[in-house]
């Protein structure tokens, strides 16, 4: 066996020195003769092959490596020996202890001065790098699988707005193929116009919601999250990773939630309205029954009242001028009839539930006539002054009911000042005066009846609208509630103000309706 360890004596020192240096090099180095038998192996190579140098010299790869590797190594060695240039191979080598390394092996054919051919080889152990590379590949495969399957749109673009990667979910969300996506303007589907500088725009770590568009129509609602600029993200220069979370259903859910909330509020309001309506219906039902009863009683009472009045009238005609002294008695009979009739009228007004039967009336002239008729029935000391400001304005009112309204208020004013006019202690006012005025205001028409009587105490003002409340010895307490009811039937109301000692003012108001259709 020929080995380089048996070196010529003339160069023994230099060769020894070189071999000693080679022996301790961290790089694995071996030398084979032209029969591919090992003639040198440094310590690093011995570690790879798993045998000391002494037991390795004179042997070949076939003595250490598996057959398939030997075949590969031998082919490579022979190729090197046949050529004059160095060769590099990626080799997988399994040592005798079973450990495997990835090796970048460089091989070179050399010829010594005496014409012998050798093959010098070095191994760089790439096992760690290869393992890392495999790990990276596995990791990348996992990430790619994730990107391909995750239900989130992913778009990676560089700082030139060029798409590096778009995942299938984003394409699915946009209804595009990859090639359509590549040729489309990103600004189109983001609904933000031309996409120049898009990456720059999204380079801040932003998070926003936007509509995703296709052919000008909104196709989805997305939460867009930008990674901000990424350095070294597998591309040259900076890039940005944008993710799209489909929030359409969340938005729909929010809409549904909003609608349910709104409907709940409406339902709650409607239940309240229904309750109020039910209560109103019960009240109206009772009132209708009461109204019917009152109407029947009114009819039945007014007939005998009519008989009493007519009989008293006949009696008066018969005894007049005969000095019988019954005039006062006859007058009292008639006053009693009037009082009974007033009570019946107030009961009817208060319990009437039928809708107002409106007619178009020139209000001021109609009111003047009613006031004139009523003034004739009031005690003569009461002065009535009218300041009517509506001109020839026609409005729709139920004249029968509204006249009851006016008569009630005017009578109340008169009675507050002078009573019925026949009892001196009821005279609470030196110069009793009622001022009636009409005016047009933003809320409609106002009819004010003011008196200069004693006024109404604060305590009584609070109770004045309560049915059956009265301060009169002979009142039903239904006058003001009846007035309010009539005004309500005209969609209006009543306001009462008073300063004790200075008088009271009753203001009836109702919206102007200048046609019967409006009033209906």
């Amino acid at each position: 066996m020929t080995t380089v360890n048996k070196r010529p004596a003339t160069h023994i020192n230099e060769i020894d020195a070189v071999l000693q240096i080679l022996d301790v090099l961290p790089t694995s180095l071996f030398i084979k003769d032209e029969n591919l038998k090992f003639v040198f192996s440094n310590q690093a190579h011995c570690r790879i092959i798993g045998s000391p140098a002494e037991s390795l010299l004179g042997l070949s790869d076939a003595d250490f490596y598996p057959a398939d590797q030997v075949k590969e190594f031998t082919a490579a060695d022979q190729a090197v020996l046949a050529s004059h240039v160095p060769h590099e191979f990626m080799e997988l080598a399994t040592a005798t202890d079973g450990s495997t390394i990835y090796s970048l092996t460089r091989k070179l054919r050399i010829m010594t001065s005496d014409g012998r051919i050798y093959l010098v080889g070095t191994n760089t152990d790439l096992t760690a790098m290869k393992t890392k590379e495999k790990e990276l590949e596995a990791k990348e495969a996992r990430y790619r699988a994730l990107a391909e399957t995750v239900p989130v749109g992913i778009w990676h673009l560089n700082d030139k707005d060029e798409t590096i990667y778009v995942n299938p979910f984003l394409l699915h969300l946009l209804g595009m193929t990859e090639s359509e996506f590549m040729s489309a303007s990103a600004g189109d589907f983001l609904g933000c116009g031309p996409a120049i500088g898009l990456a720059e725009m999204l380079s801040d770590k932003t998070r926003f919601e936007t509509d995703l568009m296709s052919n000008g129509k909104v196709i989805a609602r997305a939460l867009v999250v930008s990674s901000g600029w990424l350095e070294n993200a597998g591309v040259a220069g900076r890039s940005v990773m944008i993710t799209f979370v489909d929030v359409t259903k969340i938005a729909d859910l929010q809409n549904v939630n909003d609608q349910v909330t709104r409907l709940n509020a409406e339902l709650s309001q409607n239940i309240q309205k229904l309750k109020e309506t039910q209560e109103e219906m019960v009240r109206a039902g009772r009132m209708a029954q009461l109204g019917q009863l009152t109407a029947t009683v009114a009819h039945e009472l007014r007939n005998p009242l009519a008989t009493v009045r007519t009989s008293a009238f006949v009696l008066d005609r018969k005894v007049r001028g005969k000095g019988l002294g019954v005039e006062q008695q006859l007058l009292r009979i008639d006053k009693g009839v009037v009082r009974c009739d007033t009570i019946i009228s107030q009961l009817l007004d208060f319990t009437r539930t039928k809708a107002a039967q409106c007619k178009l009336i020139e209000f001021d002239s109609w009111l003047a006539k009613i006031v004139e008729e009523e003034a004739a029935k009031l005690p003569s000391s009461v002065v009535i002054e009218c300041t009517l400001g509506l001109g020839e304005l026609n409005v729709a009112i139920d004249p029968d009911r509204f006249s009851r309204c006016v008569i009630n208020i005017v009578n109340n004013a008169s009675e507050a000042m002078v009573g019925k006019g026949d009892v001196p202690q009821d005279q609470k006012c030196a110069a009793p005066k009622i001022t009636i005025s009409t005016s047009r205001t933003p809320r409609g028409i106002e009819v004010s009846v003011a008196d200069n009587g004693p006024g109404i105490s604060e305590e009584n003002l609070k109770k004045i609208r309560e049915p059956l409340f009265t301060t009169k010895a002979y009142g039903t307490g239904l006058g003001i509630p009846a007035v309010e009811k009539i005004l309500e039937q005209h969609n209006g109301g009543l306001e009462v103000s008073s300063t004790t000692g200075e008088g009271a003012c009753f203001t009836a108001w109702f919206p102007i309706k200048q046609s019967l259709e409006e009033a209906a």
């Binding site: 009819h299 009472l301 007939n303 009519a306």
Partner: protein, 120 residues
């Protein structure tokens, strides 16, 4: 008073009808009384009246139904109504059918006598 009139008073309330008839008679008018609608119709068929005062509500034919029948035969019949309930729909029907007017019960007799005076 200018002249005596022939007047028919229709009221199912006998006291009412009689009291009114007595009052009108005091002014020398010739007053006939009917206590139901059919009697009033028959009276108009057999006689002539210058004026009539009809109650509205009564058993059988009410005042307005009777009035409308009378007007069908006597289109010039002049009739006033008297009612205890002024908002009665029947009264509106009577006015639409040509009644001269309506007096609310208890009737203001001075006003009623004025109306008689105007007709005389």
């Amino acid at each position: 008073m200018t002249r005596a009139l022939s007047i028919l008073v229709l009221d199912d309330n006998v006291d009412n009808a009689d009291a009114l008839a007595e009052l009108l008679s005091m002014d020398d008018h010739v007053v006939k009384v009917a206590y139901n609608g059919q009697d009033a119709i028959d009276a108009y068929s057999s006689g002539k009246f210058d004026l009539g005062f009809f109650d509205v509500m009564m058993p059988g034919k009410n005042g307005v139904e009777s009035f409308l029948e009378i007007r069908a035969q006597n289109p010039d019949a002049k009739i006033y109504f008297m009612t205890g309930y002024s908002a009665d729909d029947l009264v509106k029907k009577a006015i639409a059918g040509g009644a001269l007017g309506v007096f609310d019960k208890p009737v203001d007799l001075t006003t009623m006598l004025d109306a008689v005076e105007r007709a005389a």
